[in-house]
Amino acid sequence: MKEEQDYIQDLAEIRSMMERSSKFLSLSGLAGVMAGVYALAGAYVAYELFDFNPDKVVYNSFDSSSGSILIFLATAILFLAIGTAIFLSWKKANQRNENVWNVSSQQMMINMAVPLIAGGFFILILLEKNLIGLITPTTLLFYGLALYTASKFTYNDVKLLGLIQIVLGLASAWFVEYSLLLWALGFGVIHIIYGIYMHLKYER
């Protein structure tokens, strides 16, 4: 014969199972902080060393050799950030006894991949058409869309982060002269703040 306590426990287990099986909760807040640090460093290098600071949509006041270095730099930052996120999430998943490659993390990846790949191709088109000034706003915009859809499969807080990046992306498309600054704000500062917030909220 079950007691009342057992029924309360039953309900708690049902809720926990529903959450565990539909949301990937090993996403690491520290990975967000690290991604923010990489982004700030990258923006600094691009600005200081390569004088990259678009003020118009059609921007070509830097030569093509530093252009390809900049693309390499941006791609390197991207992979460094993704690598750190995977590594730290893998560590966190191990601690929590969760499988890092489970149904919900797969769902999250697929849902992020669609807007990110679409954005990637769009950026290639912009590069080809020499609309360099729109590249930084585009990265913010599509990254924000990716976070927004991914939030269904992980912490709900990620939804607000996505919305912030979308707004920053639109703002930087309008104010192209501030786009690098807004990019550093979105990918750098906001990531760090959000990462610390998530770390304090879920990882202590």
Binding site: L11, E13, R20, S21
Partner: protein, 99 residues
Amino acid sequence: MKLSIDDLHKAFESRVRLGIMSALAVNDGLDFTSLKNFLDVTDGNLATHIKKLEKEGFLEVEKSFIDNKPNTTYYMTTEGKKAFEEHLNVLEEIIKSQK
């Protein structure tokens, strides 16, 4: 008390079966390995509980091959969904009435 413990479905007495139903309630379908990882039980244990739910008509099984390896995916039937929701309602009622 309108709803009583008698209304609770026997199939949901076990925590493992309750867990299987909870996971399938929020996923379109899950394979054996995913269920095993979520529930942290042995293969044999999980298979027994799945059999029981299948017999009740709460689960649907779809067998397929992925890279020549057999893969079994489990889905919740409409009947299973209904029974699970009823079970949740009864649980809630019991807890409320005892407060």
